[in-house]
């Protein structure tokens, strides 16, 4: 596709449920990033992939959060046993090579997760 696609656009989960958020990056982009954006805040880094390798997961808030990109394209962010504090917009971004210092990120519109 022309841009980064994320689905679902909105997700409502009951506390304790597992959720899976999908990201379809721009074709050919090597690097993929997940960010979490709380209401009124800037995006916070969660994790980074280069192709299928997860090179940095330092931002994942707990072991309930898990991300994968098995074939180096589509990525899934999974949250187990969701808690209310997980409510946020989850943004996915991709870049051509992943040289963050001098390369722009292309963001998706995000998945808004609400945990009740």
């Amino acid at each position: 596709g022309a841009g980064v696609s994320q689905s679902p656009r909105y997700k409502v989960a009951k506390r304790g449920q597992d959720v899976a958020l999908r990201c379809d990056p721009i074709s050919g982009h090597v690097s993929l990033f997940w960010y979490q954006q709380a209401l009124g805040q800037g995006p916070e880094f969660l994790t980074y992939f280069q192709n299928e390798a997860q090179l940095d997961k330092s931002g994942l808030p707990s072991d309930r959060f898990f991300a994968e990109r098995p074939e180096g394209s589509v990525s899934t962010l999974k949250i187990q046993r969701t808690q209310q504090e997980d409510s946020a917009v989850y943004l996915c971004a991709s870049s051509l090579m992943g040289r963050v210092v001098d390369e722009k990120l292309f963001f998706g519109s995000g998945t808004q997760l609400s945990v009740l």
């Binding site: 690097s31 722009k104 963001f107």
Partner: protein, 112 residues
């Protein structure tokens, strides 16, 4: 580590100018600027690399002073389409780290 943006919010009339500042307590190699409209994806504006260069994008330009660890975004003769939240992103200057750390954002409202 998170850069600090100021002001937090600005309200302008169409045609007025604005300056948004981004300041870091850490040494920086680059500063990135993005704009996000409500409910939409952040959109890239520009990257500034170490060297104090100033870049321009239509009527939006920015400067980067790496000695002061600061960047400023300049919006001149603002248009209604400039409304949105502006984020600066900085790289942590850690070898091998490939992530941007974003500020908390500056909400810009342009009124007719």
């Amino acid at each position: 580590q998170q850069p600090v943006q100021s002001p937090q919010a600005v309200i302008l009339r169409e045609g007025e100018d604005a300056v948004i500042n981004c300041s870091s307590s850490k040494a920086l190699y680059s500063v990135h600027w993005y704009r996000q409209k409500h409910g939409e994806a952040p959109v890239f504006l520009m990257i500034l690399l170490k060297g104090g260069e100033q870049k321009g994008h239509e009527k939006i330009s920015a400067s980067f002073n790496e000695k002061k660890q600061q960047s400023s975004l300049y919006l001149t003769a603002s248009q209604l389409s400039y409304s949105g939240t502006y984020f600066c992103g900085t790289d942590p200057l850690i070898q091998g780290a490939q992530k941007l750390v974003f500020g908390q954002g500056t909400r810009l409202t342009i009124n007719p």
